[in-house]
């Protein structure tokens, strides 16, 4: 009898979820798509947003300098990251300032060392974004050139070394290293194009200049370390199912060029990280509160990474509060 009731409940919930997805009401398509181009970014129809995301990342392998993948052996790497972020429009719908700061709980169990954990802030970032061009949000009509125009949002920002850099670590395993150790200035553009009233492609590209910094040498003195410049690209497909539900899939890549130490380029030190992921979002209190779930992975495929010590898989949940005009 109990098993029959459980089965009935499962069938009922599947039917109800399917019905909710099939409702004709359409969602905040352009708000959802334009707000998906970055954590804490305010969607087009909102005045401000606050977001919190809790993510769990687990290392599964590494990529060496030639892109060869190896599974982690004798090491366990687990991170829990609480990110707080948000944005607000600066008096006009075109401009917004946004930012985020992560709090990292890190765990390392490396061969021959006692397992250790540490908590600390990661590197915070802040950006300024301008909506330069707007999509009519009609979908593409080959007979009307206006329908090809996307949203174009250039942005600039900085990432600050608010986390503890690797050279500042005080633990044998480096578990307390929560940041890059370097300032980064970045500039880029987010392009969102509605293919239909419900489907959008979001492409975000940026270039980052990572400032050189001094690194203490073991025997005293310092080395001038120039982390490679960084290029990021992310392509996402966003589908707005209805007023409440939306989903997306994405692929991203981060490149950094060879580093330099005391003016000398270090060969084979460039990095590359490819990541794939998907997310699902739902308004739980329209139009104010939104929940999201996402998962992403650095695929364990030769060549998809380079000089990545800990390639990882991640799951995250997000809660966002939107503020209207």
């Amino acid at each position: 009898m109990t098993g029959a009731r459980v089965r009935a409940g499962v069938v009922l919930s599947v039917v109800l979820v399917a019905l909710s997805l099939a409702r004709p009401a359409r969602a905040q398509a352009c708000c959802t798509a334009t707000g998906s181009s970055g954590f804490g970014v305010v969607g087009r129809c909102h005045f401000a947003a606050l977001a919190a995301q809790l993510a769990y990342e687990r290392g599964h392998g590494s990529f060496d300098a030639r892109g060869r993948y190896r599974t982690l052996r004798g090491a366990e790497v687990d991170d829990v990251v609480l990110s707080l972020g948000g944005g607000i429009r600066l008096g006009t719908p075109a401009w917004q300032i946004y930012g985020s700061v992560p709090l990292r709980l890190q765990y390392r169990d490396l061969g021959g060392l006692a397992p250790a954990g540490a908590v600390g802030p990661g590197d915070a970032s802040v950006g300024l974004r301008y909506m330069a061009v707007e999509d009519l949000v009609t979908g593409i009509d080959v007979h009307d050139a206006r329908t090809f125009v996307p949203f174009v949002e250039p942005f600039v920002g900085v990432r600050a070394p608010t986390g503890r850099g690797p050279t500042g670590s005080k633990t044998p395993s480096g578990v307390d290293a929560t940041g890059d150790g370097a300032w980064t200035a970045f500039a880029g553009v987010a392009v969102t194009k509605f293919l239909t009233l419900r489907d959008a492609l979001v492409l975000v590209g940026s270039w980052g200049y990572r400032f050189p910094h001094d690194v203490a040498a073991a025997g005293g003195g310092a080395r001038r370390f120039s982390t490679g410049q960084e290029v990021r690209a992310r392509l996402a497909f966003v589908r707005v199912f209805n007023l409440f539900w939306s989903g997306s899939v994405f692929a991203s890549v981060i490149f950094t060029s060879d580093v330099a130490q005391d003016g000398q380029r270090v060969p084979y030190s460039a990095t590359r990280r490819v990541r794939f992921g998907a997310s699902l979002m739902r308004y739980v209190v329209y139009p104010y509160w939104k929940l999201g779930l996402s998962a992403s992975l650095d695929p364990p495929i030769e060549g998809f990474g380079q000089n990545i010590p800990f390639a990882s898989a991640s799951v995250a949940c997000l809660v966002q509060r939107n503020f209207t005009w």
């Binding site: 979820v17 009401a25 708000c31």
Partner: protein, 110 residues
Amino acid sequence: MRLVLVLIAAGLAACAPAASPPPDDAVLVRARLVEPGGARVFALYCASCHGETGNAPGTPAVMGPRALDDFDSEPGLRGFVSRRMPPRGTLEPDEVSAVSRYLWRVARLR
């Protein structure tokens, strides 16, 4: 316990409040092409409450079947928007005109 969790999930899925029907896609596209300025004002200042298709729950429908039937004319709608919308903040006169024309066109294109 398992049954309770299943029923809670079903309840959450069903609890999405109802929304009034939106306008046809073709109507929306046509109105946005003809009144792009008004469509923009609506997207920026009105859609967050009324929904992008003007039929979000908890607010009066401003698009779709029978929306705006309480208004006899576009000037009547414009006067209402000018006095009452958005609830916090104000629109410039040209924004009021543009969004009123846009909504009136959606209503007339159905």
